[in-house]
């Protein structure tokens, strides 16, 4: 049976949090400590421009998604929620069933 949207999003968010902690070397932070609506850049998690381009590569490698537009990137990278929604909306496994 196809997973529901919310189940899929939960999985994506969990994956994202684990990848961010690992790939961005977020020491002293556990994936489960990152809130879904936590702001990623500036305040909140405090990521910066170098983290942003690392996340771009993360999306390319793991979800085959490209983010070319910087302005659009700002919206997508706002929080775990926005990032997960972007992935969900744009990945092939989410083509609607019959």
């Amino acid at each position: 049976m196809q997973k529901s949207k919310s189940e899929e999003l939960i999985k994506i968010k969990r994956d994202l949090k684990e990848r961010l902690v690992r790939e961005l070397s977020l020491e002293d932070i556990k994936p489960i400590d990152i809130k879904d609506d936590e702001i990623l850049f500036g305040e909140g998690l405090g990521l910066d421009s170098l983290d942003a381009v690392e996340i771009v590569v993360l999306l390319q490698r793991n979800y085959s998604l490209e983010v070319k537009d910087i302005e659009k990137g700002r919206e997508i990278f706002y929080s775990i929620d926005t990032l997960a929604n972007y992935i969900y909306e744009n990945t092939k496994s989410n083509t609607p069933g019959p």
Binding site: E23, L24, S25, L26, E27, D28, L50, D51, V53, E54, V57, Q60, R61
Partner: protein, 357 residues
């Protein structure tokens, strides 16, 4: 002439001057042989730094993405500043010169892994950024908020000597009031493979600095930073009287002690014979911290501590097949001048003259 005002050392046995002094007093120890992530599970004796056990890691929170090389550099540089106890230093007048032989080669190979595993369009920008040769100097600058000139230099054998010579030039010209002169290199499996192909690993894990030929190496890694400057001579550890490179050094008086950089990184270290005198005791401390192109910095640190403390440290490995006069007795001593000597593979010589303040 310039004053040595602080030292920071990070090596296999830990960090800080006290730790290094303890090692100089305790003598030789077996290198660790556990598997290391960088060695891809190969067990290999090496004098490696275990960063997890180093205290004062709060500074590293500012550099979460950096690699081990940069972390070692920042810890040692920070220690050098702290050990100087100079208050209200104008950090716009503080420079940084980092000497390295191989730079971030471990991270460079990680970047090549990225290219090979993920393709050229999908490589990690963080790994690339850390693979540039001047990353350690950049991290030292940003972690410690140092805004003077920042330079990374590389020259294989004489990197540290050239860095020290340039620091003297900058001070003479008034470009800086103080300079952190550092040396850092990291051990990794690729470098181990290259060394094993080119050189001879010590069969009993003991570098024998007075063999000269054949020579044996045990790899090391770490960082040394010394803070130099013209002023504050009251608190100085000692003075750097001069640095001579590649030309026959002119010395007005012979040194009280010669420290030589023999560590097995040259297949034939016989060139050192021409600098050794039957009257001047010779020391070599590479068996404590391992074989490194930047080993000069660690030997130099030992020389600085001898002059500051007016003690001498016995050689950690005393095998002496050529019967040269070795510094084998530890204890108080009256010394004015220590000479640190290095040769390269072309037989060219460099010497750092350290003088009591």
């Amino acid at each position: 002439m310039m004053n040595v005002l602080g030292i920071g050392i990070l090596f296999t046995r830990g960090s800080g001057v006290a730790c290094f002094e303890k090692a100089l007093n305790d003598g030789w120890q077996e290198p660790a042989g556990e598997a290391d992530a960088n060695l891809k599970d190969k067990i290999s004796p090496a004098y490696q730094v275990v960063l997890e056990t180093v205290t004062g890691r709060a500074l590293l929170k500012k550099m979460r993405r950096s690699d081990k090389l940069s972390k070692m550099a920042v810890l040692a540089a920070s220690d050098a500043l702290r050990s100087s106890a100079i208050e209200n230093m104008n950090k716009k007048r503080l420079g940084i010169i980092v000497a390295t032989a191989f730079g971030p080669q471990v991270t460079t190979f990680k970047f090549l892994d990225e290219i090979l595993d993920y393709g050229e369009a999908n490589v990690s920008p963080i790994i690339f950024s850390n693979s540039v040769h001047n990353a350690p100097a950049a991290y030292v600058s940003s972690a410690l908020d140092i805004q003077g000139p920042t330079l990374t230099v590389t020259q294989f054998y004489f990197s540290f000597q050239y860095a020290l010579q340039l620091a003297q030039a900058w001070i003479n010209e008034g470009r800086c009031d103080y300079i952190l002169v550092g040396a850092v290199d990291q051990y990794g499996d690729v470098l181990k493979y290259v060394h094993d192909c080119k050189l001879t690993p010590a069969p009993d894990n003991r570098i024998r600095p007075f063999n000269f030929n054949p020579t044996y190496h045990v790899p090391g890694e770490g960082a040394v930073f010394i803070l130099v400057g013209k002023g504050n001579s009251k608190n100085a550890f000692c003075k750097v009287e001069n640095v001579w490179i590649g030309e026959h050094p002119e010395c007005k008086a012979p040194a009280d002690i010669d420290i030589i950089d023999t560590d097995g990184m040259l297949a034939d270290e016989s060139a050192y014979f021409s600098s050794i005198s039957p009257d001047i005791p010779v020391a070599a401390y590479s068996p404590l911290f391992g074989s490194m192109m930047v080993g000069s910095a660690f030997n130099c640190a030992a020389g600085v501590l001898m002059l500051k403390n007016q003690v001498c440290y016995a050689n950690p490995v005393r095998d002496n097949p050529h019967g040269i006069k070795l510094l084998n007795n530890a204890g108080s001593i009256n010394i004015e001048l220590v000479r640190c000597i290095r040769y390269n593979c072309q037989g060219e010589k460099a010497a750092i003259y350290l003088k009591k303040k």
